[in-house]
C-alpha cells in the first residue's frame, strides 16, 4: 500500500491502429463465429480509431457506411449485427452511433428508414419503462440505455418515453448506492454506466440523491496491486471497467476519487506489445472490445497527453460529435 513510483509503459498507437485495420484480414474460424457482434465490433473499431485521430486515413468512410446499411433489417425496421441478421437494439444503437459520427444530422438515413427505426426503438419499450432487446422479451438496464441513447441520437425523446424509463432505472438502485441489471439484481459496474448514462441522457441525474455513496462504490472498484478496476466486490480487475467505472465517475464529477495514474499504467500493461491491441488483463488475449474501452479509458484520463480525441462519458462518442446533439431537457 505504499506509494510507489508507477511505471507507465508507452502507448503503442501505430500498432493499435494496425491491429484494428487488420481485424478483417485474419479470417479464422473464430472470426466467422463472431458475425453476430460485427456491428458492435465496427463501432468499437471506429471509436478506437477516432480516439486515436486516425479514422479517416484508416477506414474508408464509404465502406463503413455501406456495411452499416447492408445490415438494415427492413422487416423489423432496425439494424442487425451483420447482413441478413435480425434487427436488435444492441446493433441498432451501434449503427446509429457510427452513422452519427459521419453525419451528425443523420440525413444519410433517409426519412423512411428514420421513421422505421424510431418506431422500432419506441416499440421495444415495455409498460414497466424498461426496453427489451428485440421482440423476444429480454429485458435489462442495458436496453434502457440503448433505447434512450438511440432516441437521443435521433432527437426523438419525449416525456412519455423518458419518465417511465427513468422510474425503472431508479428501481434498479441497491442499498450500496449502485445499480443492477433489473430491480433486485446485484450491483455491477457496467450496469452503473448504463443507468447513470441513461439518467444523464434523460437529464435526471439529480435523482441520484446520494452520489457520495455511489461514488464511493465506484471508487472502491479500483484494486491493488494492479490499479485496475473490477466490476463487483472481490472480483479481478478487467480493462473494460476502466470505461464503465471511469465514465460513471466522470458523469458524477468524481473522476478524482480514483488514482488515474495507476489506472493508466494498468491499461497500458494490457497492451500486446507485439501485435497491438489491448486485452482484459496483462498477457491475455486482445480483442477489439477491450482495445476500444482501454483507449476510451485513456482518453478520459488525459486525452491531451496522448493527443487523443476527447470522449463524451455519456455517449462514448467524441465530444466534437456529441456537442452537436440537441440535449434533452426535462
Amino acid at each position: 500500500m505504499t506509494d510507489t513510483e508507477v511505471e507507465i509503459l508507452p502507448l503503442l498507437r501505430e500498432k493499435h491502429i494496425n491491429y484494428i485495420i487488420e481485424q478483417d484480414s485474419h479470417r479464422s474460424y473464430e472470426y466467422w463465429l463472431s458475425e453476430h457482434l460485427r456491428m458492435n465490433g465496427l463501432y468499437w473499431g471506429v471509436t478506437a480509431l477516432l480516439i486515436m485521430k486516425s479514422l479517416d486515413e484508416s477506414l474508408p468512410r464509404s465502406e463503413v457506411i455501406d456495411f452499416v446499411f447492408s445490415c438494415w433489417d427492413s422487416k423489423a425496421g432496425g439494424f442487425g449485427a451483420f447482413p441478413r441478421h435480425d434487427a436488435h437494439l444492441l446493433s441498432t444503437l451501434s449503427a446509429l452511433q457510427i452513422l452519427k459520427i459521419y453525419d451528425t444530422e443523420l440525413t444519410i438515413l433517409g426519412s423512411e428508414k428514420r421513421e422505421q427505426v424510431v418506431a422500432f426503438v419506441k416499440g421495444l419499450q415495455l409498460p414497466s419503462g424498461c426496453f427489451q432487446g428485440d421482440r423476444f422479451g429480454e429485458v435489462d438496464t442495458r436496453f434502457v440505455y440503448n433505447g434512450l441513447s438511440s432516441l437521443s441520437l435521433l432527437d426523438e425523446l419525449t416525456p412519455e418515453i423518458v419518465d417511465p424509463a427513468v422510474k425503472f432505472i431508479m428501481e434498479c438502485q441497491n442499498f450500496d448506492g449502485s445499480f443492477g441489471m433489473l430491480p433486485g439484481a446485484e450491483s455491477h459496474a457496467a450496469q452503473v454506466f448504463t443507468c447513470v448514462g441513461a439518467l444523464a441522457i434523460a437529464d435526471k441525474l439529480h435523482l441520484i440523491e446520494d452520489d457520495t455513496k455511489l461514488g464511493s462504490w465506484l471508487s472502491e472498484r479500483q484494486v491493488l496491486p494492479s490499479g485496475g478496476f473490477n466490476g463487483r466486490p472481490e472480483k479481478l480487475p478487467d480493462v473494460c471497467y476502466s470505461w464503465w467505472v471511469l465514465s460513471s465517475l466522470s458523469i458524477l464529477n468524481k473522476k478524482h476519487w480514483v488514482d488515474l495514474e495507476k489506472l493508466e499504467a494498468f491499461i497500458l500493461t494490457c497492451q500486446d506489445s507485439k501485435d497491438g491491441g489491448i486485452g482484459d488483463r496483462p498477457d491475455n488475449q486482445t480483442d477489439i472490445y477491450h482495445t476500444c474501452f482501454g483507449l476510451a479509458g485513456l482518453s478520459l484520463i488525459d486525452h491531451e497527453k496522448y493527443n487523443f480525441t476527447e470522449i463524451d462519458p455519456v455517449y462514448c462518442m467524441p465530444t466534437e460529435v456529441t456537442k452537436t446533439f440537441k440535449k434533452w431537457k426535462s
Partner: protein, 381 residues
Amino acid sequence: MQHGIKRINLSEEAKRAKLEKDKAKIVEYKQLSEKVFSLRDDEVYSFDALKYTSVLLKMNPEFYTIWNYRRDILTNLKYEQEPDNDYAWWLSYDLGFLMSLLKKFPKVYWIWNHRSWCLFELVKLGKVNWQYEFGVVSKLLELDSRNFHGWQYRRFVVENIELESTKKAAPTNKSDESSVLLEIDINEFKYTTEKISKNISNFSAWHNRSKLIPKIYHLFQALDSPNEKYPEVFEIFKSPQSILNHELELIKTGMYMDADDTSVWLYLYWLLTEKLFIDDLNKSKKGRYLSLLKEELHIVEELNKLEKDDHVENWDNCWCLKTIVLIKGLIEKEEKGATNPRDLLTNDIKNHLRTLIKIDPLRKGKYLDQLEGKASIIPTI
C-alpha cells in the same frame, strides 16, 4: 470478446497452419448458415429446419438471429405431423438442449434468454415445472457461486414460483398468501446463509439477503399467527431489532475472519443505516440507535487494534478505519442533529481521514473532498 484467456502470439507459420486447419470448419459453418438463412427467408417451419438450427447453435450459441428463427419455428410447427410429441414436449426438449449448451457456455446471455422464453411458453400451456428450474439453477450456482446470470436466474425462478404459488392460494385470504410466500423466501434466506457460510466474500449472497430481509419481515407481519409455522425463523424476524442483532452477530464473525473483505463491510453499512432498523430502534427506546452505534464502534475499534498489531508498520486497517469514520459520523449526527457535512467533521474524524489518505492512497481525492466538506462522510438519505 476474450476474457481470461492467456495470449499466445502465434508465429506466422503457426497462423497459416491454423487457418489451413480452420478451412474445412469455416466452409461447413458458412454452408450451414447459408442453408438456415434460406430456410428462414422462405419461412420454412419444419422439424428439419429445427434440427439445422440445433447444429448451428451448437457451433455458435451467440447467433441470436438463429435463436429468433428457432423460436419462430417452434411457435409455427405443425405438431400434428408427429403426434407423439406436442409443442410442450418440444419446449421441454429445448430446455434439455439449452442445458447442454449452458454447461459449456454459462455466461452467454442468449442461451439464458431462450430458456426464459421456453418457460414462458410452457406457462401459457400450463405445463411449466419451476421446481425443476430451481434445481437446475441451484446446481449451476453450486459450481460458480457468483455467476451473475445464475443469481439473476434464481431470482427469476423464485419470482415465478411465488407467482404460481399465490395463484394457488385462496384468493381472499391474505394471510394464506403470505404464508406461501414466506416459505419460499425463508428458504431463500437460508440459502444465502449457506452460501455466506461457504464464503463470506460472496457479495451476491449478501445482496440477496438485503432484499429478502424486509420482505420476510413484512410477510410475517401480514400473518395472523406468525410464530406457529416457522418458530425459529420467527425468533429472528419478530422485530427489526431482532433481525439487526442477528445480522450484526453474523457480520461480526465475517469481520473477524477477513477484515479486508469488501462484502462484509458493505453489508454492515446497510445494517447501520437502513431505515427499517433505525426507526424500530428509536421507537423502542430513545437513544437506542445511538447506543447500538457506540457498541459497533467499539467492536470495530477492537478489531482495528488487532489488525494494527499485525501490521509491520502498525497501520490501521483500511476498512476498519473507513467504518470508524462512518460510525463516528453517524454518532455525530445522532448527537448533534447535524445535517451539513462540514458539521460532522470533528478533529478526531479529520485525523482519521488524513490517515486514510496515507493508507488508502487510491481514494485520496475522495478523502480530500470529505475533509473539505465537499462530500459527506455518511449517507445523505
